[in-house]
């Protein structure tokens, strides 16, 4: 539930989602759900020459289970806040 809330706060930011099949998709975070499925808008694949498979896709739904990383803008993250929240979550869980 922590990361679900965290991603909700990040809606509107530019992120790059790296998938477990090595594909990386950059876009604006549109929405997220309890499974951490991600909807991105204005998407472009990071290495378009290598992966032309999604050239005509501009919005996409990414299943949470295939995400390897979500790359965030460094100044888009309050690391201390996240650190505290995670510590609290770890204690309470």
């Amino acid at each position: 539930q922590l990361f679900f809330s965290y991603f909700k706060d990040l809606v509107g930011q530019e992120v790059t989602v790296e998938l477990k099949n090595d594909l990386a998709i950059r876009g604006t975070l549109h929405s997220v759900d309890q499974y951490l499925n991600i909807k991105l808008e204005n998407t472009r694949v990071v290495d378009q020459d290598k992966y032309p498979h999604m050239l005509s896709v501009r919005n996409c739904f990414i299943r949470g289970s295939v995400v390897r990383y979500v790359q965030l803008p460094p100044d888009g993250v309050d690391v201390d806040l996240l650190h505290d929240a995670a510590r609290r979550e770890a204690r309470g869980g």
Binding site: K8, V11, L19, K20, N21, D22, L23, I25, H30, S31, V32, D33, Q34, N37, I38, K39, T43, K50, Y51, P52, H53, M54, L55, S56, V57, R58, N59, C60, F61, I62, R63, S65, V66
Partner: protein, 98 residues
């Protein structure tokens, strides 16, 4: 607000699905459920290769099980029409490794 990423907005639209085994399937989204199993009509698979242009294999009406789904993309038909598939060369997508 951003609490449900429904696929409702994509119903009756042409979508491009990337499956966990690295395939790219294009079709019209007819239905889905909470587990993101999907029903795809008029579907065809786009096979990419490094040796020849993109091949299309017609599939028809398909149900794709949720655990095989990686990405569901909204296909922009104008953009898609502007692509010359016979000239595209690419390695096939890798399968998903957990």
């Amino acid at each position: 607000m951003a609490t449900t990423t429904g696929l409702e907005s994509l119903v009756d639209q042409i979508i491009s699905v990337i499956t966990n085994d690295g395939r790219n399937i294009v079709g019209v989204l007819k239905g889905f459920d909470q587990a993101t199993n999907i029903i795809l009509d008029e579907s065809h698979e786009r096979v990419f290769s490094t040796k020849e242009g993109v091949q299309q294999h017609v599939l028809g009406l398909y149900i794709i099980r949720d655990d095989n789904i990686g990405v569901i993309g909204e296909l922009d038909e104008e953009l898609d029409a502007s692509l010359d598939f016979s000239k595209l060369r690419a390695h096939p997508l890798k399968p998903v490794v957990h």
